[in-house]
Amino acid sequence: MGKSNLSLRNKDILQLQGMSESQLQLILDTAREMKTIIDRDIKKVPTLRGKSIINLFFEPSTRTRTSFELAGKYLGADVVNITTSASSVVKGESMRDTLLTIEAMGVDAVVIRHEAEGSAQFASQILKPVVINAGDGAHEHPTQGLLDMFTVLQYKQRLEGLKVVIVGDVLHSRVARSDIWGMKTLGADVHVAGPAPLLAREMETMGVTVHTSVEEAIEGADVINVLRIQKERQGKGLFPSGREYARLFGINAKRLQLAKPDALVLHPGPMNRGLEISPEVAYGAQSAIQEQVKNGLAIRMAILYLVLMGGEEVEVTA
C-alpha cells in the first residue's frame, strides 16, 4: 500500500464533488486490495480492531447499511447500527443532540444516511469523529459513486475517454451526482438521459450532456448506469405511468444494442425489473450489477481503513 502524503486520515467523506483525482485513485487502489479479503474463507482482519463505527440511518436502506456494517466488521471494528424510522426532527430530538450523544460514547466514525440534502455536511460541522456520507437526499452518495467507478475500472481498466450514460430519474438521484463528479474527474464523457421532468437542463453546468432521447444518449456508450425509478414520482405527476416509462426509457435488449457491443450495464439497486430495466439486461452478459454489490463492500472497507488508519502502515494482508 505504501505511504502516501495525500492521506485521507480523519477526513470526512461527504461528496465526490471537489475530490481530487489522486484522492479518488487512492481509494480505488485501496479497494482493489480490500476486495481480496472478501473472497477469503476467514474474512476478519484486525486492521480496525479497537475502532468503533456507528451506522446512523435516518432512511431505510438494506444494501448500503449492510455493506458498511460488514466492511467495518471484516476489518475488525465494532459496528453499531442506529436506524430511525423518522427524522430526528420528527422524533423531537434535534440532529445536533443525536450526534452529540453518539460522540459522547467515543465513536471513531459515523456513517450517515439521511433524506435531506446537506445533512452529512451539517453532521460534519457538529461531530469530531469522521463523517462518511452514505447518501444525503438527492445530493450525493459518494461510496456508490466510487463503487460504480471501481466496477467500470474492473471491466474497462480506465474511465478516461469512456462514454458513460446515466439513465432515469437523474434529477432526484444522489447516485447520478456522485457518478458525474467522480467519473468526470477521471476523464469520462458523462451523459444523462430521461424524461424532461426528471432531468435538469442546468446539469450541463456540471459538465454533462443532457438528453431526453434515451436512444440518442446510449448510442455508442461504453457504460450505461440505469437508475431506479421511484414510483411516487408518478403520483407527483412527473411521468404518466410505469408502462409508458418502460416503453420509452426502459433499458431492454433492443436499446442496449445501440451501445457498444461490450457496453457495461450498472444499476445501483434496488431494481424495478420490467420498469427501468428488463430482466434479460439485468441478468445478461453485460450486466455487472451483482459485482457492484461486492465492489461496494470493498470500497467501504477502503474508505473506513483510509479515514481511520490512513497514514499508518498497516498490514492488510494479514
Binding site: E117, F122, H139, E202, T205
Partner: protein, 429 residues
C-alpha cells in the same frame, strides 16, 4: 426638549434638499433646517461627516408578536429596528394568533405604543387565519389603524378571493400587499431552481412561480382598478412585468430586499440554513435585473423582510429549517456597501427608497425632514466599517447570511419623535 443636529449632510429626497446644514428638533417636530442654527437650550449633536436623513422605514418585517416570542417580540424587534436606523416598521400578520381582527390590530398597536422603541405599523391579514378562504374583517381592521392588508407568507391561491380582497380593501383606501409565489410550483422546494439546485439535488422554487403569481395579481389589480404592492420581488421576469404594468398606468408598487439585491443562490452551496428564505436567493442574472429595477424606479422600496427565527429552529438540516432570517440590523449596511460604495446608487436614491417612498406607499408619518414633520431622523455614517456579529444583534433571530461580513456604512443615531432611541449602536430603552 430640543435637539440640534449640527453640520451633517442633510438629505431629504421628499423635498429635494441635499446640503450641509443643521436640523433643529423641538417638541417632537422638525423645527428648522438651515445653516448656523442656534438654540441655547438644545442638546447638540455634532454630525459633521455624517448624513442626516429622514428616519428609515422598513415596510416589511415580522415582529413575531403575539405568540412567537422565541423568535422575536415587540421589544426586541423594535430595538433591532432602532439599532438598524429604522424609525418605523410595518409588521406582518403571520403571528399566533394571526392578526385578522380589529382587536388584534388595536392590541398590537397598544403594545407597540407601550413597549416599542420605534413606530410600528400593523398589517392585518387579508384572509381569516391566513387560510385563503374567507376575507378577514378588513374594514374593521383599517378603522382600528391597520396600515395595510396582506397574507404575507402565502400567496392567496384563490384568484376570486384575492380579487374581492383588492376591491374590498380599496373602499377603505387600504393597501393590499401580495406575497407572490405560485404555490403549486414552489411546493416542496427549498431554493432557487437553477444550476446550483441541480448540483445540490435540492428541490427548486422556480423563478417562473413568482412571475406567474405577480402577473395574476397585477392583472387583478388592473382589472379592478385598485392599488397593489408586491412584496420581496426577486426575479427578472417580475421586474419586467411590473415595469410594463407601471407604463400602462397600473397602480402597482414593489419592494426588494437587501439579500435579493446582493446575494445569489451560490450561497446555498454550504447548506447554511441562514441562506434559506422565500422567495429564495436567485442567480446573478436575477440580481442584476433587480438592481436595474430599483435604479429605474420599477422597484420603489427597499424592505428587509426581517424574519427572525429561534436558534433551535435554524440549527437543523437545511430542509427542515424555517425560511427567513434577520434583516433590520444589516439592511442599511448591506445596501450602502453593495449599492452605494460600488457607485451604482447615490445616497439620495437610497434614502428615497428606504424612507420617502415607503412613507408615501404606506401613508404613514415620517419620510421627510420638512419643517413641521414628525422628528423621525436617522443619522448615518456612510464610511463606518463594521463587522456583522450576530451574537451582538438586538434581534432574537441570530441567523443571517451576512454573518461575519465586513460592511461599510451604518446608522449611528436614530431619533423617533424627537427622542434619541439609538446612539452609536446602543439602544436606549
Amino acid at each position: 426638549m430640543k435637539l440640534l443636529l449640527k453640520n451633517g449632510r442633510v438629505i431629504d429626497p421628499a423635498s429635494g434638499f441635499d446640503a450641509v446644514a443643521d436640523v433643529l428638533v423641538d417638541d417632537g417636530r422638525i423645527a428648522a433646517v438651515g445653516k448656523n442654527l442656534q438654540a441655547a437650550d438644545a442638546e447638540m449633536v455634532d454630525c459633521a461627516g455624517k448624513v442626516v436623513a429622514p428616519g428609515l422605514i422598513d415596510m416589511h418585517v415580522h415582529l413575531r408578536d403575539p405568540g412567537l416570542e422565541a423568535k422575536e417580540d415587540i421589544v426586541s424587534g423594535t430595538q433591532a429596528a432602532a439599532a438598524g436606523g429604522f424609525t418605523t416598521v410595518a409588521c406582518m400578520a403571520n403571528t399566533r394568533p394571526v392578526v385578522d381582527s380589529s382587536i388584534l390590530v388595536e392590541g398590537l398597536r397598544e403594545r407597540a405604543r407601550r413597549d416599542g422603541v420605534v413606530h410600528v405599523g400593523v398589517i392585518g391579514a387579508l384572509s381569516k387565519g391566513l387560510e385563503g378562504k374567507e376575507l378577514a374583517e378588513i374594514g374593521d381592521m383599517k378603522l382600528a389603524g391597520a396600515v395595510a392588508i396582506s397574507d404575507d407568507g402565502h400567496h392567496v391561491t384563490r384568484a376570486s378571493l384575492f380579487k374581492a380582497g383588492l376591491e374590498y380593501a380599496a373602499m377603505f383606501d387600504c393597501l393590499v400587499i401580495t406575497h407572490a409565489e405560485d404555490e403549486s410550483l414552489v411546493d416542496g422546494g427549498y431554493m432557487h431552481e437553477g444550476a446550483v439546485s441541480a448540483m445540490l439535488g435540492i428541490p427548486g422554487r422556480p423563478s417562473v412561480a413568482e412571475d406567474i403569481a405577480i402577473s395574476r395579481d397585477i392583472m387583478l389589480a388592473e382589472y379592478t382598478g385598485t392599488p397593489i404592492h408586491i412584496a420581496h420581488v426577486s426575479t427578472k421576469g417580475s421586474v419586467d412585468i411590473i415595469r410594463a404594468a407601471k407604463l400602462r398606468g397600473v397602480k402597482v408598487t414593489a419592494e426588494a430586499t437587501p439579500h435579493h439585491l446582493t446575494l445569489t443562490d451560490a450561497e446555498v452551496s454550504s447548506f447554511n440554513t441562514a441562506t434559506k428564505v422565500n422567495p429564495p436567493l436567485r442567480s446573478a442574472d436575477h440580481v442584476a435585473a433587480l438592481r436595474q429595477g430599483l435604479k429605474d424606479g420599477t422597484i420603489d422600496v427597499i424592505a428587509s423582510d426581517h424574519a427572525p427565527h429561534a436558534y433551535e429552529e435554524k440549527d437543523v438540516e437545511f430542509r427542515y429549517a424555517p425560511s427567513g432570517f434577520t434583516g433590520l440590523e444589516t439592511s442599511l449596511g448591506v445596501i450602502l456597501t453593495e449599492l452605494y460604495h460600488t457607485g451604482e446608487f447615490t445616497l439620495p436614491e437610497i434614502i428615497d427608497r428606504m424612507s420617502a417612498r415607503p412613507a408615501g406607499i404606506l401613508k404613514v408619518a415620517g419620510g421627510t425632514l420638512k419643517e413641521g414633520a414628525a422628528a423621525d431622523i436617522t443619522v448615518i455614517d456612510p464610511d463606518k466599517v463594521w463587522t456583522v456579529d450576530c451574537d451582538k444583534l438586538y434581534t432574537r433571530g441570530k441567523a443571517s447570511p451576512f454573518a461575519g461580513r465586513r460592511l461599510k456604512g451604518q446608522a449611528v443615531m436614530t431619533v423617533v419623535d424627537g427622542k434619541i432611541v439609538m446612539q452609536e449602536g446602543q439602544v436606549r430603552a
